[in-house]
Symmetry: C2
Subunit: 239 residues, 2 copies
């Protein structure tokens, strides 16, 4: 494991997630309950015995690798989006993925463990993970050690705002209805993501009409910011 | 960072801890508040700017490497001490250090950041870390994302027992008094560690008189289990 002064790890699994790009992704785990995903366990870890007893836990920690970061070098300070992007904080005072060892941690709900047919899938709720994220470890959440409700939260003591009104165009509403059997939580997922105002701070400060977009599942979601909240214009499906 | 199919990390720091061996060490973070230690940040991460804003947080996550594990190979199942050591659970259903990627995580209290003289030291409380533990990452504890009091805790829903009476021999009491200026919390640390009954399950089930010992700071702590609790016999100092 020790290697040229460093420590080397193999992924135990890969995340399958509706989030195909960073824009719009929840900024922490748990704040978008309908963000559902699957952790696919890879061999040689794909052994049911290694997960015996895990289903007794309601929540698990996912230790993952921040991947796809274009910048390889870390910098001592970063600009957290929660501070409007114009205040620099030390990288170790933030949960930014641009850190010396780009390991992330997310506490998520474990809803089901499915094993069989050569697969071992853990179904998760409340994820904040990109599709394809490599996972380094999985641990049970132990409330007596991990839950510290009285901890003082520094610059981010509260969850992001969730009070924005989110409305759907007739077209977007029709897509949600049509997909109801396949992705029953599609509509609530969109509301939970957008009511947090995922716009870059630059736009939030200088509101002007602009159509934003992100990929979610196979959709290209298009939305805009109106005076009374966010309006989802369209969910374009792949041609 | 990617290397022969794995991911490689450099330690950002090293833990200095009173715990010199595994026996007696708290089994999770936070349950022994007077377990005080220091995270010494290593170059090239030893830059004050990288920690700017961190002192606003009361608690931090330490991601560390379980080191000194004699067994290099992981096994799919382990015997958690909390279950008496005779029930096997999947390694991913436990917080055991004998895991495929031996990364541990501990939520601890951050009491002070001291910088100067070419050093950068983070003072911590409630640690469960061996002296010399390599640290891979440090993150602020975010209660809105990390604290889930209602999570169901599986086989370990409650902290370990803390109701054992701990008494001191006159000799042990005298050492605590003599060291009061240097290690003012020595007595309370011993009580907090021993009231959890750190005996191996084998002995707890078959009580018989035996003197146990562990190293704490520079002391060789000797104690025994009596009918009415644990008695600290001696704190031997190095010759």
């Amino acid at each position: 494991m020790k290697q040229r002064g460093g420590f080397s790890f193999l992924p135990i699994g890969i995340i399958r997630s509706p989030f195909k790009e960073k824009f719009g992704i929840p900024r922490q785990a748990g704040i978008v309950p309908d963000a559902r995903g699957v952790l696919e366990i890879l061999p040689p870890f794909r052994q049911e015995a290694a997960f015996r007893g895990l289903s007794e836990f309601s929540h698990v920690w996912i230790l993952f690798l921040f991947h796809g970061n274009p910048r390889a070098e870390w910098k001592p300070t970063v600009r957290p989006p929660r501070l409007g992007g114009d205040r620099r904080l030390g990288v170790f005072a933030t949960r930014s993925g641009f850190r010396p060892n780009p390991i992330g941690m997310s506490a998520v709900e474990l809803t089901e463990i499915r094993a069989g047919g050569g697969k071992l899938h853990l179904h998760l709720k409340g994820i904040d993970l990109l599709d394809g994220t490599p996972v380094l470890d999985l641990k049970p959440y132990l409330p007596y050690a991990d839950s510290i409700p009285a901890a003082q939260g520094g610059f981010a003591p509260e969850p992001p705002r969730t009070d924005l009104a989110v409305t759907f165009s007739d077209e977007a509403e029709a897509v949600c209805l049509r997909k109801e059997r396949e992705i029953p939580h599609l509509r609530s997922l969109l509301v939970q993501m957008l009511r947090m105002d995922p716009r870059p701070a630059y736009y939030a400060r200088r509101p002007k009409k602009k159509v934003f977009g992100f990929r979610l599942y196979d959709f290209d979601v298009q939305w805009t910011f109106l005076d009374d909240g966010i309006r989802i214009l369209n969910l374009k499906e792949p041609a």
